[in-house]
Symmetry: C2
Subunit: 255 residues, 2 copies
């Protein structure tokens, strides 16, 4: 299995604190040592850092932890391989272009019988069930939206329905973003928290680090973090129910 991390914020925010907690689980406090990746949206563009090496021992992960890239939408993943070898092409997140937006996807879980799903227009590059499922979602979106969608919230509501279909094939916890929205679909393990004023201190579970967000933020900031398991031990994380999904737009929950 793997672990997911996502962020949705109304102002460009760095995710160093949460990412520092996550990467410990990639070989130090957790077994997810088969690669890691993180996608940062900046404007309409995004950039992905990924490595098939363990995150707890990765020069590129060190750079990401030391270099504050500010973003309103982030998707990250650390991998414990099940389907597909430890290779760059099997490392999440996966990105495809859809009507002029970068769509980013990361998955935690495992699917069976997924190869019976007919693909349309988007093809996997690696061998994971995850990328196959993502390509299936993208193909269904392309069929549903033959012209550029005007209402992107409805695109994500339809995507959540597709996630529910995939969930029938096994375990499917997923994060999907277009840079403005972040969709979190829960099969069995996904939690989230929204931080806003008054901000307080937060302490990582996986490393002895505490941040006082009141010193890092303004009163208008809204920052939502989504993770497979809570990353801090002194805050209240909301655990999603099986088959539940939440959609965030720039930090704010829409459903």
């Amino acid at each position: 299995m793997c672990e997911l991390l996502g962020m949705s914020a109304n102002v460009p925010t760095d995710i160093i604190f949460s990412f520092t907690g996550l990467v410990q689980r990639g070989g130090t406090t957790g077994p997810h040592k088969d690669g890691w990746g993180i996608t940062f949206y900046e404007g309409k563009g995004c950039r992905t850092f990924k490595d098939p090496a363990p995150s707890s021992n990765s020069k590129i992960a060190n750079l990401v932890m030391e270099y504050p890239i500010k973003s309103c939408s982030v998707i990250s993943h650390i991998r414990q391989a099940n389907r597909g070898g430890i290779k760059l092409e099997n490392t999440h997140p996966f990105v495809r272009e859809f009507w002029g937006r970068n769509i980013t996807f990361a998955h935690n879980g495992q699917l069976s019988g997924y190869k019976l799903l007919a693909l349309f227009d988007f093809m996997p590059i690696g061998e994971t069930d995850s990328e196959y499922a993502f390509c299936w979602i993208m193909g269904k979106l392309k069929q549903k939206y033959p012209t550029k969608p005007k209402n992107w919230q409805s695109v994500f509501r339809y995507t959540a329905k597709l996630c529910k279909q995939l969930d029938e094939l096994g375990v499917f916890n997923a994060l999907i973003s277009d840079g403005v929205h972040v969709l979190a679909y829960c099969s069995n393990n996904l939690t989230w928290i929204t931080r806003k004023a008054p901000f307080g201190p937060a302490s990582l579970i996986d490393k002895d680090v505490t941040v006082n967000f009141s010193e890092e933020t303004t009163d208008n900031d809204i920052v939502t973090v989504i993770a497979t398991r809570p990353l801090t031990d002194n805050e209240s994380w909301v655990k999603l129910e099986p088959k539940q999904w939440v959609l965030f737009r720039l930090g704010v929950k829409l459903n």
Copy 2:
């Protein structure tokens, strides 16, 4: 204008020497300070490092210069903006998936009247003429190959024809790769060199660095480097003629 750098090799090779020369032109010895990017293929996967900041002053470029990522195919670009602001989404290289392969593209030049080209299936995310032209190429490939191509060399030969059409609209020097092949299309400025045994020393033009490749390679290695202008001053680079293109497969020139 911008500068291009590409590599095609028969064994995974690091490009640190050439990249170190290129990034000096991104703000130090050259004016190309409006962003930079580099895509490394590893197996079927690829990863792109990019930054809208000048390469000569980029923490991420420093990482790439210090961390030897070994690859058989590399595409890199430093930007001096003309069409499209200095933003991440306007930073080359651009990547799209086509029949299960990552196709990477970088462009040096400027086009006029390009928006009259009808796009099919692939849409630009940023505002550059370059990404628009790339999406047009990809759409034409999708129309030409409605099923998975068996002969990828013919895909690249057709791509070279499409490049020639784009060249009619202005200046179009371009590098395009699927990880196995690297196509270099010359509008007015593109040079290349193939290094193989017996290897000798090479000295960068833009920085006081010399490498003795005989110490870094084996007798079987074939490494081709393509650049807008020669990167070394003690080797013979081949200058392409206008409208000429060369296709490399794992270091070896095919045409």
